[in-house]
Symmetry: C2
Subunit: 206 residues, 2 copies
């Protein structure tokens, strides 16, 4: 199975979302063509993506919706819930904490940290913002495999190191720095200004 492209994984996530939509409406089977159309790709792409992990369809028929959805959940590691630590209680952090999309997909933000005394102690979506100085104490109580870093750029590297020491293996990083992490830790970088810049490029080069 080894070596699946990131682009494939992203598409699988998308397919899963559409499958859940179909499941909700009671649709029983779906073709690669239908999934492709919804996901903005081609039927061959859908089949290739799936073929990385097995053959889930019936020739002449298509894919059984709930079964394929379940396979995708297993492939994507979404049959369990994840406890997520969030560091940085700024505006973006605030939005993420109450973002239902995370909880719906199995990601529970279960701890929030900030260094600003004005923020520490406040309740956020039923969760107390803790002092970043207490991170080791708070996170030591339960296992956290995932974290979201929403701090200023200059502290993000140090924060990531503390998180990794505490067992975090996956980081979603909103700080505009390239984090240096060990090989067994995976980092996904999100940079919203950069997304607008790709749009600006597209506008300027038509």
């Amino acid at each position: 199975m080894r070596k699946v492209a990131e682009s494939t994984v992203r598409r699988l996530s998308l397919y899963l979302r559409y499958l859940e939509e179909f499941a909700l409406h009671g649709t029983e089977t779906v073709s690669s063509e239908t999934l492709a159309h919804l996901g903005g790709t081609t039927s061959a792409q859908v089949r290739k993506d799936l073929s990385c992990f097995g053959s889930f369809g019936k020739r002449g028929l298509g894919y059984a919706v709930p079964e394929l959805a379940q396979h995708l959940r297993e492939i994507l590691g979404l049959t369990r819930r994840y406890r997520v630590a969030m560091v940085g209680a700024g505006k973006i952090g605030s939005a993420l904490v109450s973002y239902r999309g995370f909880r719906e997909r199995g990601f529970d933000i279960a701890a929030i940290f900030d260094s600003d005394p004005d923020k520490v102690g406040r309740q956020w979506n039923g969760l107390e913002v803790r002092d970043i100085a207490d991170m080791e104490v708070v996170l030591g109580e339960e296992a956290y495999e995932m974290a979201v870093i929403v701090t200023p750029a200059d502290v993000a590297q140090a924060v990531s190191e503390r998180l990794i020491k505490l067992g975090v293996k996956a980081i979603l990083n909103f700080a505009p720095v390239q984090l240096a992490v060990p090989d067994d830790v995976v980092v996904k970088h999100v940079n919203l200004a950069l997304e607008l810049e790709t749009l600006s490029y597209a506008l300027a080069n038509r």
Copy 2:
């Protein structure tokens, strides 16, 4: 100028960020190797990326920091400011409006719309949330080329159509739907839950 890959454009944005950092510290020249190291890529990649748009370096020396930065700003269309309309005054919208990274890069969110009467009329970062029903009136007063859609999925397509009728040519879409738009309109899709899912996949498949 030939077809430039999206990945190239994203890296150029990154290089620009580092160049501005160097400019701030008064560094005068920088090598492809240095930029590569900061951006997590290779020197050959940096040179290839730049070579799509011209030859900006001096052999034996490297690149002049302020000059290359200016070239990149021009390439990326960042020598001007953009008026951005935002539709959807939820939590994510709220975070984006006060996100300094946008303004710093030339993107001014200059209008916010929502359909919720509780939100309409409220001041957000010095900007009044307007009724989405008045979108045509408000946006008709000034030219808007860019928009951010932060609405629920079910209205995003209709909202995009109205925006496009009003002259919007670039959309950053946070709603989890694939928007269908004319060829001359560019859409960038952001899906935060999906980013966590790629992390979950990585954790599950080690």
